[in-house]
């Protein structure tokens, strides 16, 4: 019941905002989303007690025919992603506080609607329900970019929409096909039928369905070469949009890979692991190299995301505990450090009204604390040990090395390059003499801004120093998923038997 409440509260908030007065909208949104966050904390302990299985399960019929179930639950894999969503939403509201003046109720409403969709994606255990939430997320983000974005917002929003839609179409088809085969949309029912061999799926079918899901998820990740919507979307999106997009939305893709792609189509996933890992490694290096030459801060961070998410995909397709644990941990890490980076870039933008690195310089002199926070976030992002990203990157590398040492060598190149582009940006932006334009406009971090970013700083250190608070739950879920991806040599036999019958 708690999970249901937390899932639907954001929707309620969205509806309430539609009828609310402009003046109280942001106050309401902030306190409402904070309330959701605080109550979502109560989800943690029950899941930690039994992270390998689903807690807070609700399983009822939603649509009678074709039977679509309202089946939700939470395990160690989805727990932290849900918490990440409920944490980031109030922070995103806080960073929009002054910047958004236009159609305020709608703006905060969309942020809450987005939260609703995101939580839904992470808790759905019915394939159709999952698809519905997947699409629900698309709409508010489309409008956040399209209405409150910068100059080329329409182009960016349409590109975002088209890319994602191209993927969703295939996923929907695959879901329907699964339904036709198994007679159900329920994820566990489908999984059981496939694993027990009750339903016969030819290797070609499995490959096609795997690719359909994979393609849809890979666009969302985004995996090279399907990434070109991301830099445009980030550059044009308002700060909060970038934060939610980078922190949580990109994880929908990698979450889908872990939750659905691997267990449902293990043979196909393994058979295709080589070229996928290859793309991931190309993405790691490619994203870093392109980030290195970006004159625009947001584009730089966007390309760095392509690089970081490459690590996640590589870890997933390493098919071992370290790789998978690292990948999931890295999803959370990326959400925190890149979310923080986008916030900080947003702070700079609100002062100087530019995202071009060349319009800055010497920011450290007028804004020492902002600079310190930016540098710490940067260091987290480039994987400095004691901060969060290091643990994820290390585990992914260790997992990849076990699968194929060459993969680890390629991915580790990205670790060198990440230092290049990040330190380059830090130096150009913060060090050196302060030009007059910067000295006039740039002030140090304000109280509200500090409160918005402080939780993320705390998490960077916490997750980097004491991963035991978070990782065991993830590990337990992953162990179970890995177990499901073990290719059973005997499995094709009962399938034939079932057919013969």
């Amino acid at each position: 019941m708690i999970l249901n409440t937390i899932l639907f509260l954001p929707l309620l908030g969205f509806l309430m905002l539609l009828f609310m007065h402009q003046r109280i909208a942001r106050q309401f949104a902030l306190w409402f989303s904070l309330g959701i966050f605080v109550s979502s904390l109560s989800l943690i302990w029950p899941v930690l007690a039994n992270p390998g299985d689903m807690s807070f399960v609700t399983n009822t019929i939603w649509v009678a025919y074709p039977e679509i179930r309202f089946h939700i639950g939470l395990d160690g894999l989805s727990l932290w992603l849900v918490i990440l969503t409920t944490l980031l939403t109030p922070l995103a509201i806080l960073v929009s506080w002054k910047y958004i003046r236009d159609r305020v109720t709608l703006y905060y409403g969309y942020l809450l609607l987005l939260e609703f969709g995101l939580i839904g994606v992470f808790v759905s255990l019915d394939m159709f329900l999952f698809y519905v939430f997947w699409e629900v997320c698309l709409v508010p983000m489309y409008f956040l970019i399209g209405i409150w974005g910068h100059d080329r917002r329409i182009y960016a929003a349409v590109k975002f929409f088209l890319y994602t839609m191209a993927g969703s179409v295939l996923m929907l088809a695959a879901i329907i096909w699964l339904y036709l085969k198994t007679g159900t949309f329920d994820y566990f029912a489908i999984l059981n039928q496939i694993r027990s061999g009750q339903v016969a799926i030819s290797p070609l079918e499995q490959t096609l369905m795997f690719l359909a899901f994979f393609f849809s998820f890979a666009i969302k990740v985004p995996l090279f070469p399907l990434h070109t919507w991301l830099p445009d979307a980030h550059v044009e999106a308002p700060t909060a949009g970038s934060v939610m997009l980078a922190s949580v939305m990109l994880k929908m893709g990698t979450y889908g890979l872990v939750r659905f792609c691997l267990p449902l189509f293990p043979e196909a996933a393994r058979a295709n692991a080589n070229w996928i890992a290859g793309l991931a490694i190309v993405g790691i290096i490619y994203g870093a190299l392109v980030a290195m030459v970006q004159p625009n801060m947001k584009k730089l961070v966007a390309y760095s995301s392509v690089s970081h998410l490459g690590f996640v995909v590589l870890g997933i397709f390493s098919f071992n505990q370290q790789g998978l644990d690292g990948a999931v941990y890295q999803m959370l890490n990326h959400g925190i450090s890149t979310g923080a980076l986008f916030m900080l870039v947003g702070y700079l933008y609100e002062r100087q009204h530019s995202l071009e690195i060349k319009d800055y310089g010497g920011v450290a002199t007028p804004a020492p604390i902002l600079t310190t926070i930016f540098v710490i976030t940067t260091l987290a992002s480039i994987g400095l040990p004691t901060l969060n990203n290091f643990i994820g990157e290390y585990l992914v590398l260790q997992g990849a090395a076990q699968a194929n040492f060459g993969w680890a060598v390629g991915a580790a190149v990205g670790v060198i390059l990440s230092a290049c582009y990040m330190l380059w940006m830090v130096q150009r932006t913060f060090y050196g003499e302060t030009p007059d334009s910067v000295a006039h406009h740039v002030t140090d971090i304000g109280k509200r801004e500090f409160i918005a970013i402080a939780p993320l700083l705390v998490l960077m250190v916490w997750m980097g120093m004491y991963s035991q608070s978070f990782l065991p739950a993830v590990s337990a879920s992953n162990a179970k998923i890995l177990e499901q991806t073990k290719v059973q040599a005997t499995r094709s036999v009962p399938a034939e038997v079932a057919n013969a019958r």
Partner: protein, 653 residues
Amino acid sequence: MNENAHQLWLIPALPLAGALINGVVGQMRDRAAHAAAHGHGHGHGHSHSHSHSQGHDHGGHDSHAKPDPLVSMVSIGSVLLAFLWVSKTLIALGDLNTAYVERYFTWIASGSLNVGFDLAIDRLSAVMLLVVTGIGTLIHIYATGYMSHEKGYYRFFCYLNLFMFFMLILVLGANYLLLFIGWEGVGLCSYLLIGFYFLKKSAGDAGKKAFIVNRVGDFGFALAMLLIFIHFGSLDFGAVLPKASGVDTGILTAIGLLLLVGACGKSAQVPLYVWLPDAMEGPTPVSALIHAATMVTAGVYMVARSFPIYEGAPMAREAVALIGLATAVMAATIGLAQNDIKKVFAYSTVSQLGFMFLGLGVGAYGAGIYHVVTHAFFKALLFLGAGSVIHALGGEQDIRNMGGLRTKIPWTFATLFIAAFAIAGFPGLSGYYSKHEILLAAHHHAHWMYWVGTITAGITSFYVFRCIFLTFFGEYRGKAHPHESPAVMLIPLILLAGLSIAGGFLGIPHWLEPFFPKMAEGHDAMAGNITTLVGLGGIVLAYLFYVVSPGIPEGIANSLRGLYNLIDNKYYVDEAYDSAIVHPLEHGSRIVLWRGVDAGFIDGIVNGMGGVSRSIGGALRTLQSGNIRSYANWVVLGAVIFLVMLGAAGGAR
């Protein structure tokens, strides 16, 4: 004895606490002081005047700045307490024939991987701990004097204490990953401190270069760790190293070479040494502590720590020796032509680190670590002395503008003179013993290595004394008014001078002997005498060239113009890296990858579907129901196509 009886965690925690206090409280007090000095200026406390002086070492000179006594006390106190705690622990632990380990909590656990936050002391780390905290204390004391006029006094000591924290983690860590924390952490502090004068572009550039070149090394280190875990199933020293002899030579060679790549970055060996000379942009105490005495020896420590791996991988060990020798020669020759007093000592540091690697590579691990210790004494002294000279001359670093300072700053001169004799290997001083051990072991390993090493040692004494003679002898050629440094700077110099003299009699080789594998006996007395004579010859030659008849060097430089230019330009290594790696990478990324692949090719395809997408885009722009319909059309169309495909696949079964 109960578990964790010695509270090893206190050793790194003390400087960490110091860093936090300086960073938070120090900053608040600094702001308050600024506000008071500038009146109530509406919070714009940073109305800085653009008057940072000559652009030399003393960068952000601020006449208003007064050192915050709280910051000085916290920074010195925390390191001193760490030193005392180390001493107390070592006395209590006694002979340390086996490593003493304390376990605190699990840091990373995933599947069969389990890395604990465990600290350990054995004979090797005991030596390193004493050097790091002992020299560290002296340099902190010195720095409170040296930095007293600088802006950002609290920031400096925050970083410096943070450095001590990471360095102590590096030495105390009981597994490779914890060592790696320290390794990366000291690199970070080095980056921050090189770039301490962040208003100067050259300082920022140097810091960035140091970080990135070190990352190249870390790449190797990280891969080595991955291999270690795959083949040993653990990263704990206690679990990995004793098992090394049972592992395939090929694997050990790969691990050894990859670790060496890491060590080359941190310890500035060929081909990754290029960052260290530039690192002299940092304040001089930083050069002494981080870029001479402690951090740069981390690579030596790591290789020595991993000696069982190298014992099983002769090829990797040979590579260590060759890299070390090449570095020693290359840096020493470059040192001949340097005119910046700090750069001379920087190249000499690179060169001496090369000697340490030579020692490790020929199997004399103990001698390598011994040289780490004596080098820490005399090189810290050389840098602090250089700092005292720079301080005396108001920021001047060019030795061509010095001269005759012997009488003007006698204490600085006397202590620097001792340090120079120590590095030259003058009999009886600390450097003599450690360098001889290395060269004699090299002699035992391969004669040619001995000869190359000995000649390099001769070059070393020549260029170090060139620097000393140009600085302190002859007539004063500059315009400043030299003044001796305050006692807070001189006392560390005097203590370090004492250690540079006595370093050979502290029993370090004896203490380390049971820890490392035994060397074959049979030192060649003749070889030892030759080394001594060559070292003295370098001093005499420098005296002839730079005191007796100063016209000679010019003549030689003129007659060997080509060779001189090559050395003067540091073999054009920076230029080669720029044109072979940095520029192609940057231009390739910009023109081929970003403009070509990303914007041209991929987006070309995406926009190529524009005929369709534009019509939808148009529909979307109106934000009317049209978009819903076309969206639905897409969904249905795609789904139908896909279902047909799947149907065909299912039917084909």
